[in-house]
């Protein structure tokens, strides 16, 4: 219990004093996770919607594989990205290993199936509702996807936030591909892992509280901006 109070106190002082290291790693966490979220959403939202409306051979298999990929072990993803980006790997020439870009790549791989799967579930229900009308109006497949994305935006926001939650809290993959290098690839989660390893539980917990507060703040801001849960809206 003492550790928790010490952690809260530590978090408070880190925030109040505007600790430069904390600000740096917090901004890097946000930069990496939000960039990964934007890229993953750009892939997953149209793909999940397309999967909901398109009938093709092996569709069920594709959905089953997508759902399975939601549980991708981050450490394995990190290892694979590491091997691909290492000097002897096929993309080694790009020199991306141990950079924030490598961390973004790993996070995109981890959260894209999660966002796509939640999107598919939500869009499947909306498509069942809209199917006859949109077919009757002779809409093109692209128009159908755009209509579903537009009208299902609340559900898609939930999908994106789930992806953000997974990305901001992820540690295994980015530790491997980022290397937790001070002033280069250190983020909140890797700092927590480092401080825990050093036995500084108060600081680790303090960073943990900052991380939770950050995730909560981003969620609240996105909800406020997108005006969810207001009367008369969908």
């Amino acid at each position: 219990m003492n550790d928790i109070w010490a952690g809260l106190s530590s978090a408070f002082w880190l925030v109040v004093t505007g600790d430069p290291d904390l600000i740096e790693i917090t901004l890097r966490s946000l930069q990496v996770s939000l960039t990964a979220l934007v890229i993953a959403s750009a892939i997953a939202l149209p793909f999940g919607t397309w999967l909901a409306i398109r009938r093709f051979r092996f569709r069920r298999t594709a959905i089953a594989v997508l759902n399975s990929l939601m549980g991708l072990p981050p450490v394995v993803v990190g290892l694979i990205v590491y091997l691909l980006l290492s000097r002897s790997g096929p993309f080694g020439v790009l020199g991306l290993l141990f950079t924030p870009t490598a961390m973004i790549i790993a996070q995109v791989i981890i959260i894209t199936p999660l966002i796509a799967s939640i999107t598919h579930q939500a869009m499947r229900d909306l498509w069942a509702e809209y199917h006859d009308l949109l077919i009757s109006l002779n809409t093109t497949p692209t128009r159908r996807i755009l209509t579903l994305i537009s009208d299902g935006r609340r559900a898609l926001l939930t999908a994106a936030l789930a992806g953000f939650g997974r990305a901001i809290g992820e540690v295994g993959a980015i530790m491997i591909v980022g290397g937790n290098i001070d002033h280069a690839t250190r983020v909140l989660t890797t700092s927590i892992a480092l401080e825990t390893g050093k036995g500084d539980f108060a600081l680790a917990l303090g960073l943990g509280f900052v991380l939770i507060a950050l995730a909560l703040t981003v969620n609240l801001i996105i909800h406020a901006l997108s005006r969810t849960e207001r009367e008369g809206r969908w």
């Binding site: 909306l126 509702e129 809209y130 006859d132 009308l133 077919i135 009757s136 109006l137 002779n138 809409t139 128009r143 209509t147 009208d151 299902g152 008369g232 809206r233 969908w234």
Partner: protein, 238 residues
Amino acid sequence: MVTPLMPAHMRDVTVTRQGKQVLGPVDLTLGQSGFTILLGPNGAGKTTFLKALHGLERLSTGSVTWSAPDDVARMKQAYVFQSPVMLRRSVRANLGYPLAILGQPKAQVNDAVEAWATRIGLTAALDRPATGLSGGEKQKLALARALIRDPEILLLDEPCSNLDGRSVKDIEALLTAAHQAGTRIVMATHDLGQARRLATEILFLFKGHIHEAGPAPDAFDAPQTPEFKSFLNGDILI
């Protein structure tokens, strides 16, 4: 005015679901003009007939051909469902959707939306969510959304079921105006009173088969089949 899309021919059309034939075989020619009412008890195949005609139903056998290429024919048809499908948008966006997807200029879409909202009495509700409208308002909105593109053929699946008298009257007024403007209408209903008020031609469906087809006055005055006679008498058809 007559539509160049018609006549439409249904040739040996059948629809089978899970081994059970729910429609047909239907061999029928729908003429160039008129207000066709599709009558029949629940489960007779009226919805399947309309969907087959519109291309929403996969045919097990046969074909539906229009007097125009299929893609042209589809663009000039509109369909109103028994349970109105409302896009999760405002009334304005719902009304303007069929025009917006054609890429019409915003000002033109807005003008049409305002005009139709006035006609159906939903001007004050234009910026409200369409899903929050009453049943009658939703159905009027669905009908206006179908008519906003000036379709040559309008297919309606029991648009007045579960509506009060006021809403039924409003919808019938819109349908009559569309018919007088030259829109070819095919509408399913099991309301005999409505059929007598609106129909110029009757199709009577029972157990997936057409049992009666002809001009409305003749069909009502001298029904040719015992099934339609029973239906007109209010008997329960099983």
